[in-house]
């Protein structure tokens, strides 16, 4: 049974968490929206502002301090306003969530959820806790059943406390109404949203109405805390909104390839050939997630009409997942077959070609791998994963020094494939200075008319590794002038600005991706 943790316990947890070696419970995230800790990012929260809607700081209503977050939506705009927050994944222990809520329009729907890596779907590791307002009442979805709770009054603060027992997949829920000493809801040991034992959580969401798009809600959220009963160390934020810089992400990718050849992770919908989530829609996203889940269906696309282009995208993703599993188990031929099928179904999915290169490498077919890599180079120049694979391949084809000697003349003469490989070997071997100088020269080479931005970005990467954030920033900025939509450049610029203590630029670049609670 989930043990109830009152507000006082959360407050205590917050105090204890300040100590480096806290004895549990541990506060994972806490937002009062009053101080400067409102920075968006991959390890704090993201803001999705629907057309004509709003997600932003407000001083009009607040439960504590002087600010809250206002979430406003309008019906029929095909979009949803959402505050979505992230915290370290919890697979054991109790998770305590607390927040305050005030709605201006009790009859309009709003939804609040705690979910896991499968995100906002019913099932294991999907939604664990789901509270909503519908037709003027609180409703919680427990055991997959929307269950009515107390009526909701407008312009009244509600304090919501959830104690979720992860292993049991059950929770206690308490709701206090402002001005009333007794709780209006006090439930114990409720089955989770889909009655799933061990359903992990790592994300919370405050949203309007994500299915019907009929809600005209305006509501306010304050004092959000997520804590765990476990004694855990939460890595500190090393920069606003994130626990690691992109250079650390690069190092992680590299480590995955140091041990053995295996798939590099897909990190965006673009990897599957999808630009933004719009073309997939909620159902397409669900099917894609299902297809990528280990043990998921082999042909998720079959759940869509034959003429629905999303079907082949989903089916291709399922093939890719199978290929990665085969590669992981050392079965390179099967992996290659699956990646080929995926690429055939959805040629716009760039991850399939890159994965095929890895499978060829694992099969000892380095020459073919190199040919394939050359063919897909133009799709990957803005992504560190390409550099990892290129370097891995270059090293596989011989010793690094020999590779460099062989490649150098052609690379310096402007041979694009040789230049890519030469740079990759330098980078893989941490010869940052040479890598930077070569990339700068490659960017200025007459043959680099269409690839100058990519070379400048690489030069910036090497400069960053050298510890010269100022030069890295200059190189990224120069690259951005000719490639203003290149996504990776702006997160890197945000990192460089952070290192250079340029707070305004750091924020501006980061918020292009994660949004902001401040008014645009």
């Amino acid at each position: 049974m989930a043990g109830r943790i009152p507000l006082a316990a959360l407050a205590l947890a917050a105090i204890f968490a300040a100590a480096a070696q806290a004895a549990g419970p541990t506060v994972l995230v806490r937002y009062g929206f009053d101080d400067d800790a409102v920075e968006t990012g991959p390890d704090t929260f993201a803001v999705f502002r629907a057309a004509h809607g709003r997600v932003g700081l407000s001083t009009v209503f607040r439960r504590s301090g002087y600010r809250s977050v206002e979430i406003r939506d309008v019906p029929g705009n095909g979009d949803f306003s959402e505050l979505q927050g992230y915290f370290p994944e919890q697979r054991t222990g109790h998770v305590f969530a607390h927040f305050a809520l005030l709605t201006a329009r009790p009859e309009e729907e709003l939804n609040i959820a705690l979910a896991g890596p499968q995100r906002f779907r019913l099932g294991k590791d999907g939604i664990a806790f789901w509270l909503a307002t519908r037709e003027g009442r609180f409703v919680h979805v427990s055991d997959s059943i929307p269950k009515k709770l107390a009526p909701v009054r407008g312009f009244v603060w509600y304090e919501v406390d959830v104690a979720y027992d992860v292993e049991a997949g059950a929770y206690d829920l308490t709701i206090h109404e402002e001005g009333k000493p007794e709780p209006i809801v006090a439930l114990r040991n409720q089955p989770g949203a889909a009655r799933q034992r061990g359903s992990a959580v790592d994300v919370f969401s405050f949203i309007s109405d994500p299915t019907e798009d009929a809600s005209d809600v305006t509501y306010f959220v304050d004092d959000v805390s997520i804590a765990t009963s476990r004694e855990v160390t939460v890595p500190p934020l090393v920069a606003p909104g994130r626990r690691k810089l992109f250079v650390d992400a690069f190092a992680e990718y590299r480590r995955t390839q140091d041990e053995k050849v295996r798939c590099l992770p897909a990190i965006s919908l673009r990897d599957f050939g999808i630009e933004g989530s719009g073309p997939l829609g909620a159902r397409g996203i669900t099917l894609l997630e299902e297809a990528l889940r280990p043990g998921g269906p082999g042909d998720g696309g079959g759940a869509l009409p034959a003429e629905d282009a999303r079907g082949r995208v989903v089916a291709a993703a399922a093939q890719w997942r199978e290929g990665c599993a085969a590669l992981e188990s050392g079965d390179a031929p099967t992996a290659l077959d699956r990646f080929a099928r995926a690429a055939s179904s959805a040629p716009e999915g760039r991850i399939y070609g890159l994965s095929a290169v890895l499978a060829l490498l694992a099969a000892g077919r380095a020459e073919e791998a190199e040919e394939r890599l050359g063919a897909i180079a133009s799709e990957w120049t803005d992504d560190p994963r390409f550099a990892i694979v290129a370097a891995r391949l270059a090293v596989a084809r011989g010793d690094a020094a020999g590779a460099l000697e062989t490649l150098r003349p052609a690379a310096e003469a402007g041979d694009a494939a040789a230049a890519e490989r030469y740079y990759s070997v330098l980078f893989w071997n941490r010869r940052w200075r040479e890598a930077r100088d070569f990339a700068v020269a490659a960017a200025r080479h007459p043959s680099a008319t269409h690839t100058a931005a990519d070379w400048l970005e690489r030069a910036g990467d090497a400069a960053f590794q050298l510890g010269d954030a100022r030069e890295a920033r200059e190189l990224y900025e120069e690259a951005a002038r000719s490639a203003p939509d290149q996504a990776s450049l702006f997160l890197k610029l945000s990192d460089a600005a952070f290192v250079l203590e340029d707070v305004e630029s750091e924020r501006r670049y980061r918020e292009r991706y994660y949004g902001t609670l401040r008014e645009p």
């Binding site: 779907r121 997959s144 889909a194 003429e307």
Partner: protein, 209 residues
């Protein structure tokens, strides 16, 4: 007075011309599969789309059905038009109609016809895709209508055809995130226990309406 009549004539002519242009634009948008252009016209376009659907051949009807599916706007006219093809043997049209129906309606008659197709259609493909429609496309159902859907799915767990039991269980899993221990190819006694668990669950669901 004459100038007023002239003005009225000009206004009417311009209005009719604009109306004709709008009609052509809708047809062009459908032909070009330009869903954004159709969305920009707003939900009031649905009756006209339903008429376009009814007037076309099978290929055209399949195209319009896909437009209905992608728009996801409720429309009695669209539902009525689509229902006429819900048993068509034309494979492409049938699948598009089955998928689109739930996205233009909030109606137990649609749930019933899809449940019937899922259980009784002679073709496995049509049964399977009716289940897909029940799993993903009943986006406008009220809670009471959902009870009706779950009731039909739980009943289908007792179907003598293994594939029907399999797809019914799959729909329930997608809709609720649960399986209640039901195994479509399991022994009858074990299946009966799981079905009983689903029935108890449904009773609780109904009690919350």
């Amino acid at each position: 007075m004459k100038s007023l009549r002239t003005l009225a004539f000009v206004v009417v002519t311009v209005f009719l011309a604009a109306f004709a242009a709008a009609a052509i634009t809708l047809e062009q948008a459908v032909a070009a599969d330009d869903i954004e252009a159709i969305k920009a016209m707003g939900p009031s376009v649905m009756p006209r789309l339903a008429r376009l659907y009814a007037a076309g051949d099978e290929e055209h009807r399949q195209r319009v059905a896909t437009v209905f599916y992608r728009l996801g706007w409720k429309s009695e006219e669209a539902k009525a038009a689509l229902m006429k093809d819900v048993h068509t043997p034309n494979q492409g049209l049938r699948l598009s109609v089955q998928y689109a129906l739930g996205r233009v309606s909030s109606d137990v008659s649609v749930v019933d016809v899809l449940l019937d197709n899922m259980q009784n259609d002679a073709q496995l493909l049509f049964r399977d895709k009716a289940a897909c429609a029940l799993a993903y496309d009943q986006v406008h159902l009220t809670p009471a209508q959902k009870v009706h859907l779950y009731e039909g799915l739980i009943r289908a767990l007792d179907d003598p055809k293994v594939d029907v039991r399999r797809i019914a269980a799959q729909v329930l899993l997608i809709q609720t995130g649960q399986d209640k221990g039901f195994r479509f190819a399991g022994p009858p006694e074990a299946r009966a226990r799981a079905v009983e668990a689903w029935r108890q669950w449904l009773a609780e669901y109904r009690s919350q309406l």
